[in-house]
Structure formats: structure tokens, C-alpha cells
């Protein structure tokens, strides 16, 4: 028996076990998200993919689709909340988009474009965060980290290495490296690991590949985040710096 949910009045079929996000992506419906990646176990921390199910807000990436659910996704209220959440992510870190190597490839920036974000709105937190440049080919700049844990999950579940973890609490939460010194160079990370390429922002960067693609020709200069996420653009393609 076929099952379906409705997203903004569009009937969307789903299979048992699928989340609302899974069903939406399969049906070509874009739900903004940052901490979600179909290759990894859902996490539900960024809250950008919040939708309304029968009047209640839930993360679409962690909520199972159930027959007959009536879901609101693309509403003014939700997009405004998503905009505010995106602004929160910008002001809690130190994001210097014009000089960032990830500009144009950055999912946070692309989501901000998508939501029409024009300013940070809130006062900056200006946190002091540590840069780890110890590794010969991988750079860790925590200033840009949005705590999505994609690298944590990719390293643990896909690379089988457990290189990254989150430490601290509240706004002191930060990415830590699972090595005796806490430095990347002393971990068993490899530059071909998925964890190195999955970062949606510029927190994990490959060294010696700066500006190979000129600004203006980069991923999100050419296509919107919605097109990329719904299209047949493979994870490895969209995240590689030397694509």
C-alpha cells in the first residue's frame, strides 16, 4: 500500500523508515538544511530544516514521515525563522566571507543567499577560536565552524577513524581533534577522507589549493543551493576544492 505525506499541499510518496527530509529530497522539494547530508545519520542540530507538522515545529531530517502528515515547509514564517537561525550562525563565529577561500563553495553562504540574508542582524560574538595549521595538507580554522558535526559523523561512520569530536558546552562548544596532542598532525586523518571534504563552510580546508577556481565561477555563483541539493551533483563533486 502506498503511503504519502503532503508538503505545502503537494502529495509526496514515501517508503517506511524515510524521514520527511528523505521524502522531500526524493520528490524534488528543497528544505533548507546545513547539518544534514543524505550519506550520514541525521543529526537535527542546525534546526534550519524545521517544518510544521500538524502545527508543531520539528526537524524534517530527524522526523519520520507518517502517512497523512500535513507539512508546511515553504512559508513566510518558517523562512523568516530560518533566516534568523542562519544569522545566528554567522554572528556566533568569525565569518569573513570576502576573504574566505570557501567563498562561492560555502553552503552557509549559499543558504544565506537563498533566504535573502543581507546582514548579520545581531551583534557579533567575536569568539576567540583556535586555528590548527599543524597538518601538512589540511587546515582547521574553527572561526568558521558551525558545529554541524558533518565531519564528526563522516569520520566516525564513513572513514572509520573518529578523528573529530565536539567539546565544551553552550557557546563554548568547539570542534576538537581526537589525537593525544589535540592537533590534526598527530591524528590519522588523510586528505582523501570524506571528513575533510564534507565541511559545509571553510572550517576544514585543503592546503595549497587556494583560488584555483576564480570567484564568479564557483559552485554557488553558478547554481543555487536548492538546485545543487536536488540535482544529481555528487557529494564529492560539490565539496572538492579542486573540482
Amino acid at each position: 500500500m502506498s503511503q504519502s505525506i503532503s508538503i505545502d499541499d503537494i502529495e509526496v510518496p514515501f517508503e517506511s523508515g524515510q524521514t520527511i527530509m528523505d521524502a522531500a529530497l526524493a520528490a524534488g522539494i528543497y528544505i533548507p538544511h546545513l547539518c544534514h547530508n543524505p550519506c550520514l545519520k541525521p543529526h537535527g542540530s542546525c534546526k534550519l530544516c524545521s517544518v510544521e507538522v500538524n502545527g508543531r515545529s520539528v526537524s524534517s531530517c530527524t522526523t519520520k514521515a507518517e502517512d497523512g502528515q500535513e507539512i508546511i515547509n515553504n512559508s513566510e514564517k518558517l523562512n523568516k525563522a530560518r533566516l534568523t537561525i542562519t544569522q545566528m550562525l554567522f554572528i556566533e563565529g568569525n565569518h569573513l566571507c570576502p576573504t574566505c577561500e570557501k567563498t562561492g563553495h560555502c553552503t552557509l553562504q549559499a543558504v544565506a543567499y537563498h533566504l535573502g540574508m543581507l546582514d548579520g542582524h545581531f551583534p557579533q560574538f567575536y569568539p576567540k577560536r583556535e586555528v590548527d595549521a599543524s597538518h601538512p595538507s589540511i587546515m582547521l580554522d574553527r572561526d568558521r565552524c558551525i558545529l554541524c558535526e558533518l565531519c564528526v559523523r563522516a569520520s566516525r561512520d564513513m572513514d572509520g577513524k573518529n578523528v573529530f569530536a565536539i567539546s565544551g558546552r553552550g557557546t563554548d562548544s568547539h570542534l576538537s581533534v581526537n589525537s593525544p596532542t589535540g592537533k590534526l598532525v598527530d591524528s590519522n586523518i588523510d586528505k582523501d577522507d570524506l571528513a575533510v571534504h564534507i565541511c559545509p563552510v571553510g572550517a576544514i580546508l585543503i592546503k595549497e589549493h587556494g583560488y584555483e577556481i576564480p570567484i564568479g565561477c564557483r559552485t554557488f555563483d553558478l547554481r543555487s543551493i536548492a538546485e545543487i541539493d536536488l540535482g544529481d551533483v555528487k557529494l564529492s563533486e560539490k565539496s572538492q576544492h579542486n573540482e
Binding site: 515545529s57 560574538f125 589535540g182
Partner: protein, 579 residues
């Protein structure tokens, strides 16, 4: 997946880290490396845990490590400052000679005893006065060993002022278990279900239904956890129950184990109550020796044991799934739900998590029968409720009422006069003014986990709300964006307001952030973090209006004061160096 019985708590990560903190006054990289090796845990997991819990430190703390409560009931900023001044140490820092460090901590559950502090994460001094602070200063400066400090300073009385259904008669250890073994588990379960007992932690879920779901859930093992992580500011009833009614609580856990088929139980005790640990362990040991716990309980072939795990300063661990994560030696981050703990809890096995008061009530229901229980309270809220009363009243302490008592009746009993506001259920509950004092305490009326903080007319409402905003920002686990960033923004907004720099625009911003945090946060902490602010705006509007500036916009910071560092560096303070 399942664990050995009985569980040996000595090697629990939180306990190993506590010992290291006590020994070295901090937890070094080397220590993390050694501990991760000896416990076979990833280095980053150990580091993550160290940096998550407030009582572990990466930088050395003093030989005397003092944590002063910053609660509106058991804190006192003036006394705290006096202690800092007299010991010549800045708040949050360790003195250069390594003798002493002073910092603040969230409510330590001593709200009926006045200003209080934690000493070396293991002892509690209450009823602080200027004189006592000065005595403490002398003992610290002379490096007097803690064993030589006056013993009575560490005594903490119960302050029970009104006894009802639960506390009236003394409890004979084993008496409820003797009734229990005369019935099979489904009969006992039925007794709990028909009694109408709802969880006393605040959420009010049917206890019997929770047990039924857990009993029916399939797993390799079943667990029962007593949530003694009483962290809601203004709440201390669980501390009193554990101090004087521990047998009642353990008996409740044993009954739960009998019903759901558990062999192992855990009491998760908040770090602030560590001083109770030895007595609680002694009670457990006595129960084992008298056949009330351990193998073959009361000769009936029923095995069950209880281990105590002590937390390390994290309010969020009172959330049941975060508590389970903490038990599993991880950072206390609330899990995605469903699945709920009843089907996938500790070690992904069916688990019941109940509040201390709920379990104590269970033992009494089994002892006296459901009719005894049902005849008290209201239609939808059966039985009684322990209230932890603190703040501006003549007789702070524990009061037990049948559900359905009015707030005004409680205020009369505790000797509260000139009341401006009452915080019911702690910061995550409701901030109410006199218009609401006729409301009744019950699940369908004023619902509360037990905290009742009273504020007289001389108290500054905005300062209280600011205190609560600080609490939530400090205690947010940091997992989800709306709570992590939102609670910090709310705290900053309240600072700006209290400093007299806010405009009407800032109030709109506060409302906007509050709505977002409430609606989109991952767990109850974020959902309730804005409650005091929203209630304040609703019921104490005048306090806000009096404070705001009559202009369109005021910047977040004072540019002239921001230049003070530059002035200090350039050694200038002439008029030209100011704006």
C-alpha cells in the same frame, strides 16, 4: 551490549575524572591520555566530557576551590564579592600562589538555607554571613585542612514544615517490598496505573503507562534510573528525600525493577549533592545485607542492584535522555526522540527514568494501595506534591500539600508578605504576580516540579529575569543553534536592558528571539528558556517600560568605554583620548 551485575561504578568516567580533579586540581592533557587508555575510550570523548561539565577544569584550580551559588535564593553577590576581596582573588580565577580559586555556579539546591557555596566539589557550606565569610578567609589563608574546619558548618538540615501523604509517617525499610512480593508484576503494575500517579519531575507523564511501555519493550536487559539530578533553581525536595527517606526511594526503584524486569538500577545524583554519597551507599549496603537488594531479594529469586553515579555540574543532565548519555560516559546532550528511553534508553535498552519523588510515591502506593492515594488531590492530579519554598518568606523549606492547594494558601503558610512575584516551577516554569495567586497547584492548573521562589516588593524583577537568562545561557548544552545562540542573545539583551541602554526596538528584538528559541529548540531547556522574559513582559510590563530609553536606537556597546584598552596601552586619559 548489556552490563555485568552489579555494575561497578568505580571506573565510571565521571568518577575517574572527579578523582583526578581532586588530586591534581585540574585535568591535564596527560591525564586525559592516561584515562582514555585505561578506560578504553577515545581521547576526544574524554576531553569532550571534561570540557562539558562545570566541575572539571583544564587549568589548575586552587587548593581550596570555592564555587559560590549564583541562584536568586541560595546565592549572594555581595558575600561572594566580599570573599573575593578578602582573599584577593578575581572571580573565575585562581590566585597566583595556587591556594584558592573562586567562581560562581548555578543553584546548588540550598535555597532554604540562605547563601551557600560548594567547597572542593564535595562539601557544602550554607547559611553564609559576613562573619562566616571572614572565618572561611582565615582558614583558607592559614591552609587549614578541611578535616579541621568546624564540622557543623557542613550540616544541612531538612527544614520540613508541612508533612502530608508522603512524609507523615516513618517508613519501615522493606515494608513495601513485602507487600510487593505477595503480588505478581502485572498486579503491581496495575496498582500503579489505576492510582493515576503522574511523574513528579514536572512533565507529568503517567508513571504506570511509562512502566507498561518499558515492560512490553523487547531488549537484552531492562534498566531503571532514578533521576536525582535536581538542578532546577529553587528545588531541593529531592535532596531532603535522599537525606531522610532514601529507603523509600530505593524501594520505589526496586518495585519498578520488579515490574519491568530490570536487574540493574542507577541513581544519577547531581554533583552538587555529592556530600550525600557516603550515606546513600551505606543505605544501599544495608539493604543488601538485609535481603532487600542484590541477589534473591526477600528469598523470592528476584535479583536487582543499584549503583550511584554522580554528575559533575550540568543542569541539562536532568533531561532524561541527556542523563542517559551522561551515564554512558558521554557529554550530556539530549537525544533525538523518538525513540524514547522506554524502548531505547541506557545502552539502547528499554529504560524507565523516574524522578526521586515519583519513586518514593510508588513505594507508598504499593504499601497502602491505590485507594489511599486516589483519595487525595484533584480529579486529574492525584496525591500530593512536595514544594521547595524559598526566597522572601519567614519559613523557607519543604511543604507537602495535596494537589489543588492555592498559591495564596502556600504563601500564607510560609509567611510571605508584600509579595511582588512568585516563580513557580523554577526559571523554566512561570513568573506570576498577585493576579495569579488564587490559582491552584496541579497538573491541570499551575504545574510545577516543586520549585517555588518568592520575591518581595523590594526585589528588582528585571535583575531576577536577567539572572535566569544567564542561567539558561550557561546551561545550554550547545547542540542546537536556536538554544545555543539564542539563550546567549537573550542574556546579552537582558544585560543591555538592566544597564539602562535598551529602547523599544530592543524589546521587540527580545520578543523575536524568545519566540524563536521557544519554538525551534531541540529540547525542553531551549523551549522554556524564554519563559521568565515572556512572563515578565506580560505581567510586569511596567518594570520593563520604566527601564527603556525614549529613543529609536541605542548601540549595543559604549564606544568610549571600548576605547579604554587603547587608552591604557597609549597611557593617555586626556580629553582628546575620549569621544
Amino acid at each position: 551490549m548489556s552490563i555485568k551485575y552489579p555494575y561497578n561504578p568505580t571506573n565510571h568516567l565521571l568518577h575517574v575524572l572527579f578523582e583526578e580533579q581532586q588530586r591534581a586540581h585540574f585535568i591535564s592533557n596527560n591525564a586525559i591520555q592516561n584515562i582514555s587508555k585505561s578506560l578504553n575510550l577515545p581521547h576526544a570523548q574524554v576531553e569532550g566530557v571534561v570540557e562539558f561539565y562545570a566541575f572539571f577544569h583544564r587549568e589548575p584550580r586552587g587548593q581550596f576551590d570555592i564555587l559560590f551559588s549564583n541562584c536568586t535564593s541560595c546565592g549572594d553577590a555581595w558575600l561572594r564579592q566580599r570573599l573575593c576581596d578578602k582573599l584577593n582573588v578575581k572571580l573565575g580565577e585562581t590566585r597566583s600562589d595556587g591556594l584558592v580559586s573562586i567562581d560562581q555556579t548555578s543553584c546548588i539546591g540550598m535555597c532554604d538555607h540562605g547563601a551557600s557555596l560548594l567547597l572542593n566539589n564535595s562539601l557544602t557550606i550554607t547559611s553564609l554571613t559576613a562573619k562566616r565569610i571572614d572565618q572561611i578567609v582565615k582558614l583558607v589563608e592559614s591552609s587549614t585542612a578541611l578535616q579541621e574546619w568546624p564540622k557543623h558548618w557542613f550540616d544541612i538540615s531538612d527544614n520540613v514544615h508541612k508533612r502530608g501523604l508522603l512524609l507523615t509517617e516513618p517508613f519501615q525499610p522493606g515494608s513495601a517490598l513485602k507487600v510487593m512480593i505477595e503480588h505478581n508484576p502485572p498486579e503491581i503494575l496495575n496498582e500503579i496505573i489505576v492510582s493515576g500517579l503522574k511523574g513528579r519531575g514536572g512533565a507529568g507523564f503517567s508513571t504506570g503507562l511509562k512502566w507498561k511501555l518499558c515492560r512490553e519493550a523487547i531488549g537484552d536487559a531492562h534498566y531503571v534510573i532514578c533521576n536525582a539530578d535536581e538542578g532546577e533553581p529553587g528545588t531541593f525536595k529531592d535532596r531532603v528525600l535522599l537525606n531522610s527517606y532514601a529507603d523509600l526511594v530505593f524501594e520505589g526503584m526496586t518495585i519498578c525493577a520488579y515490574v519491568i524486569g530490570a536487574k540493574q538500577g542507577f541513581l544519577y545524583l547531581r554533583g552538587e549533592y555529592r556530600y550525600l554519597l557516603d550515606t546513600l551507599n551505606a543505605t544501599l549496603q544495608k539493604r543488601r545485607e538485609t535481603g532487600l537488594l542484590g541477589g534473591n531479594i526477600l528469598g523470592q529469586g528476584f535479583d536487582f542492584d543499584i549503583s550511584i553515579i554522580v554528575g559533575a555540574g550540568a543542569y541539562i543532565c536532568g533531561e532524561e535522555s541527556a542523563l542517559i548519555e551522561s551515564l554512558e560516559e558521554k557529554r550530556g546532550i539530549p537525544r533525538i526522540r523518538p525513540p524514547f528511553p522506554v524502548t531505547q534508553g541506557y545502552k539502547e535498552q528499554p529504560t524507565v527514568v523516574n524522578n526521586v519523588e515519583t519513586l518514593a510515591t510508588v513505594a507508598k502506593i504499593v504499601l497502602h494501595g491505590h485507594h489511599w492515594f486516589e483519595s487525595h488531590g484533584t480529579n486529574r492530579s492525584k496525591g500530593s506534591k512536595l514544594l521547595s519554598v524559598s526566597g522572601n518568606c519567614a519559613r523557607p523549606g519543604i511543604y507537602e500539600y495535596d494537589f489543588g492547594v492555592s498559591l495564596q494558601e502556600v504563601l500564607n503558610d510560609v509567611g510571605a508578605e508584600n509579595v511582588q512575584a512568585v516563580q513557580v516551577g523554577g526559571p523554566s516554569g512561570r513568573l506570576l504576580g498577585p493576579d495569579h495567586f488564587n490559582h491552584l497547584i496541579s497538573f491541570e492548573g499551575l504545574s510545577t516540579g516543586g520549585s517555588l521562589m518568592i520575591f518581595a516588593k523590594h526585589r528588582d524583577i528585571l535583575a531576577l529575569i536577567h539572572n535566569f537568562s544567564h542561567f539558561f545561557a550557561h546551561e545550554s548544552c550547545g547542540f542546537c543553534t536556536p538554544c545555543r545562540v539564542g539563550t546567549r542573545l537573550l542574556e546579552n539583551s537582558m544585560s543591555k536592558l538592566c544597564n539602562g541602554h535598551s529602547t523599544a526596538y530592543d524589546i521587540d528584538e527580545i520578543k523575536h528571539i524568545s519566540a524563536l528559541v521557544s519554538q525551534y529548540s531541540h529540547c525542553g531547556l531551549g523551549v522554556s528558556a524564554a519563559h521568565p522574559i515572556l512572563d515578565g513582559l506580560k505581567y510586569f510590563q511596567k518594570s520593563f517600560e520604566e527601564k527603556i530609553l525614549k529613543k529609536e536606537m541605542e548601540p549595543e556597546f559604549d564606544l568610549d568605554s571600548e576605547l579604554s584598552e587603547a587608552r591604557a596601552i597609549t597611557d593617555r586619559d586626556d580629553p582628546g583620548a575620549h569621544l
